[in-house]
Subunit: 672 residues, 2 copies
């Protein structure tokens, strides 16, 4: 498809990947190139707004902004690392620039495979494996890990390979249950072994040479490999929408229950929502999961470098699972696809990486007039857009959920397998920074700190961020004689920067448009952030964890909008030594009052693992909401039809004779 036929927010096409490769090969004739990424470059906001406004108001469409692509790639002759911006309309580069030696691009899929292979084949690694004297049938694999940072002077692109034992030849044998106590470090560009790190297995930092493995039981998760039988008492639960879904899809544009928006997808952030309007009014320009950092609390070498930035170091888009009907999603499902490049520049289809469906979420509103029992009940239908990202051992289920009352929820579920460490399987041995989750296997305490990027357009692009604290009013003989009064204290965040939580004061952050006054509340129209109160980064003030992730030190940030400022920890996080994102943009002194602002919310989990989180973790849910707060003049879901049996067709449970007379140690009988 010709780029000119695309909407400015449309996802990368395979033809665009081919075009990008062709432009770059033309720019470097005869030079072998290794492609890390080709993707659409976010259009400049000032260029796209007139187009969106014409769409919204049904006016003739102006010219589209230029369709730009960007690429990260290596020259394999000089090993230089480059960034290019390309114009897909003119088919010419905008710029191509070599990046400084200490800048590392994100991991890519081919690289992971290559490093795993290089590691497994290396004689020194094979020699270590030999030393373990594994029983017949046991094999070894490795997860190449982001190297992390403990120095300002590392310019090699490195991988820390964590080694694991595979108990059984099965595609889901849980190697994370059987970690080895050595970890080779490879240069990812030269594929050279740098050294082998030995891992501490006691309660201190001491290490020893590789020993024969003392067999322990592998804790498996795959149904085929479980000791216990599968439960047989779970009955099917089927969702039917005989008249089809309530949404309409046109390309990447979705209309549902007064909402209209565009579904975006890119290699780094995965799912993005663009240009959300409700009943024709502007609400948010762009919503995305901007970054996440996962620092580990095991203080010992080499674990002190375990700090992943799952969006910046890898990418939620390239790790998004190909979702399967009836497995990942229940009900009537619409899927969206994406594309990435492989290292040779071939387009790779990312099939079904986003699913969209409706769900019922209980009661939305109800009132019963107690005098006559006349009741109004409206159920809460939601629209869910979801992706599931596998970052090595771990899974994130990231979902945007819209409802009929104008609420927008972002829900994160953390699942998958804990990143594990070996620990001697001795009586009573445990460590104060982790949990033993199986014999010989420990999972260190760690955090997941997300940065949700919220680019608002509350009745236009000139918005302001405020917060309100709920505080007691002073006792006053006339007005507040009994000390029962309370009110809110309002603070305007009129300069770029950050703010902290205060659960004690119910601190509430609101995006307001000071030029539009709600005729009922008589206050500026507003959206409220219902945040997820979370512990911020625990690691000490001088640590690289903090230097690299300034965003993870404060719950709320506000910046003045600038093109290309999309990622909370900066563009390049892999082996970064310092933050080039919010820490910089939040300190520029930009005015953020009545202008185009961006709100960033840091939230997450301090995850001190439970044994129950192993071998695969029951999803831990955390969620954030955006809610209109004086944006509408009344509940915008009043016109949702009343809940009724003719529409919902529920089934009444009848206590069966068999059940009532069933053998039981309990003598209770039906009461009535």
């Amino acid at each position: 498809m010709n780029s000119s036929a695309l909407h400015p927010f449309d996802t990368l096409t395979p033809e665009e990947i081919e075009l990008g490769v062709q432009i770059l090969k033309t720019a470097f004739p005869g030079v072998p190139l290794r492609f890390k990424r080709i993707d659409v470059l976010e259009p400049r906001k000032r260029d796209v707004i007139p187009y969106l406004e014409a769409e919204r108001l049904g006016r003739p469409l102006p010219q589209k902004p230029a369709r730009l692509l960007y690429s990260y790639f290596h020259r394999m002759d000089t090993r230089g690392f480059f960034k290019a911006v390309l114009n897909a309309d003119t088919k010419r580069p905008v710029y191509i620039t070599e990046l400084p030696k200490n800048v590392q691009g994100p991991a890519d899929v081919d690289e992971l495979v290559e490093i795993e292979e290089a590691c497994m084949k290396h004689p020194a690694v094979q020699a270590e494996i030999e030393k373990m004297k594994l029983p017949a049938g046991y094999t070894v694999c490795n997860d190449p890990w982001i190297y992390g940072t403990d120095s300002d002077n590392e310019s090699r692109r490195l991988a820390q390979c964590y080694m694991y034992i595979i108990e059984v030849d099965h595609p889901q044998s849980n190697h994370y249950s059987l970690p080895c106590a050595f970890s080779p470090v490879f240069d990812q560009v030269t594929k050279e072994l740098i050294r082998i790190d030995y891992l501490p297995t006691g309660s201190d930092s001491k290490t020893q040479p590789t020993q024969p493995w003392k067999p322990v039981k592998c804790i498996q998760y795959a149904h085929d490999l479980l000791d216990e039988p599968t439960r047989t008492d779970l009955k099917p639960y089927i969702v039917r929408q005989p008249e089809g879904p309530s949404f309409a899809v046109n390309g990447q544009e979705v209309s549902w229950q007064k909402w209209r928006f565009r579904v975006g997808f890119n290699n780094r952030e995965g799912l993005v929502l663009y240009n959300l309007t409700f009943d024709g009014r502007q609400t948010f320009y762009r919503l995305s999961m901007s970054e996440m950092t996962v620092p580990y609390g095991d203080p010992r070498k080499p674990y002190h470098r375990k700090q992943a930035f799952d969006a910046g170091d890898v990418g939620f888009g390239i790790t998004a699972n190909q979702l399967a009907l009836g497995c990942d999603c229940l009900g009537h499902i619409k899927y969206f696809d994406g594309y990435r490049t492989d290292s040779r520049g071939n387009p790779v289809l990312l099939k079904n990486v986003i699913c969209m469906h409706e769900q019922d979420n209980g009661i939305q509103h109800k009132h019963t007039n107690y005098r006559n029992n006349a009741a109004t009940v409206v159920r809460n239908r939601e629209l869910v857009l979801q992706m599931v990202c596998t970052v090595s051992n771990y899974e994130y289920v990231l979902a945007w959920i819209l409802d009929q009352a104008g609420h927008i929820e972002h829900e994160v579920r953390a699942t998958g397998i804990l990143s594990t460490m070996p620990i001697d399987n001795q009586d009573g041995l445990k460590v104060p920074w982790g949990t033993n989750v199986g014999p010989g296997v420990m999972a260190a305490y760690h955090q997941h700190l997300f940065s949700l990027r919220i680019d608002p357009s509350v009745d236009g692009h000139n918005n302001t961020l405020i917060y309100e604290d709920s505080v007691p009013m002073p006792v006053d003989e006339e007005l507040n004689p009994y000390g029962m009064g309370y009110t809110v204290e309002r603070t305007v965040l009129d300069v770029a920067g950050h703010a902290d939580l205060s659960v004690e004061k119910n601190r509430t952050f609101k995006i307001i448009n000071e030029s539009v006054i709600n005729p009922i509340s008589l206050k500026p129209v507003a959206w409220k952030l219902q945040l997820a109160p979370s512990q911020m980064l625990i690691m000490g003030p001088g640590s690289f964890a903090r230097k690299r992730a300034a965003f993870a030190e404060h719950a709320v940030w506000v910046t003045r909008y600038q093109d290309d400022e999309l990622y909370a920890a900066g563009e390049f996080t892999n082996q970064s030594t310092h933050d080039t994102g919010l820490g910089v943009w939040g300190s520029r002194g930009d005015s953020t009052r009545n202008t185009d602002i961006v709100l960033w919310h840091t939230f997450g989990l301090t995850h001190n693992p439970r044994p129950e989180d192993f071998p695969v973790m029951p999803a831990e849910r955390i969620s954030v909401m955006l809610k209109p707060d004086g944006f509408f003049t009344k509940n915008p879901a009043l016109d949702v039809p009343a809940s009724s049996q003719s529409f919902n067709r529920s089934t009444l449970h009848q206590d069966t004779h068999k059940e009532a007379q069933r053998e039981s140690c309990c003598v209770t009988k039906s009461m009535l």
Copy 2:
């Protein structure tokens, strides 16, 4: 049914109401009695435990504990207020005692109707209504409100009647949109008018005599009365369980997915869960919503007395809605009933007050081996037990949700109609303690503070409450050279009392059994409270709000178990002047280590209303979870069958030709 056939946790029967009435009438021959409540008295724990253990272990059942009832009633001759405890087995009173003059029992349904009627008929009230000179067709009603407290010397039983205008003769005309500016106070026993309070309608405390009403538009919520048409684009969403539900019910005992428990119901707390076991192991003895207080932040008289205790002043049981199939509940629904007495001692059936059904809640766990894309996905089936309580204007949807991985969630949804105040409909008039939600109507800031009572039996009844803070480890050249380590600091709550939140430290409360060590984690078995971080009571330290609701000052309380200590603010909250609950029990100095303890969690909403919360409020959700944390040796949901299309039967969305070519202001076309 004979009491002796009942399980100790079975709900009150109509025969027991009749028996209770008969015992009391025999005790007071010829005396007219007015019954406020007859209900089952919680059995003494030491008497019931041997019975439960015999049940759990399949041993011969010992003698049941005595079946006891309790009653609150008035002698109508002396107007004395009494409490009686009755033995249903022997059909004799255990004790009958007159309560002090300043103790007021809860409101009852008949009383509300009587006071509303007495108020409407009173000539002085009629005279005030006359003064409003309402247009033809408009009428007036009132909600008798709990009087609250502003003095230590009030021994009359009072009602504050808030008056409202009914715009149209329809059972759901929203009178809360049209509040009047006068409020009669009645003696609920004598039915005498005490005085008429006038309500301030400006931004200060000034009041004036009743004026002719200046007509404003009533904001209606009922579908019949809306200006706008009902949405037509919502398509049916039907849940089918062709093989029936996964639960089995035997009387009030429920078995579902390794859980077994008993569903209880009483007039005060409504839904209670008893004796929860998972895979045969004890977890919790009793789970209940113990109390809730709703103080209002409008400082002015008479609003300074607006502080309801919805469980203690009224009762979640007696206000529970009769749920309707397909309206309140979607899917395959089992209902449970309850009973209450009317004021004359007649049993009243509370039909379908609890609903139970399964729901699908997305992904429970997933892992994909990125090397081969082999994935294990298990969906999260949940069992929901729910009631909806209407306390005058407001609704609470209170639900216990169990899942297959041993999680227990308590979810509160606040919906219904805001308690409103009149405000002059003048340009620009607003107040700093409330939100204008319609013309001439203001909703004051207020809080909802719940106390969830958690009576644990983690592998037995001797448990201990601890909390753990996640804190950085000191930098140490050898062990923690880079300052990345973190660990937990543990505090044992070994004496009854309270503790506060610390989001900053991810403070985590755990119920542990120090006598049972988890063989994997090597730590005592534990359950974690995943709490809802909430602002505590805002009102000033000297205020009656605080004196009456000590529980609302701290997020977590622990007490040593005592029979009859069930309600966080004490047994009698109506017009109470001081707390007789946690404030007392938490100060007794009881040892709470390795003994029978009770954990209480205070959480809630600071609700500064939005215009969107009117005329009926989109449900505000808040939830708390109990999670095993080293109770099991691994994820207890591993044996749940894998999610599959043959089981789930989802439907793939096909983009229709019509949709793809649909007229749109947007030129985007399908990409692939």
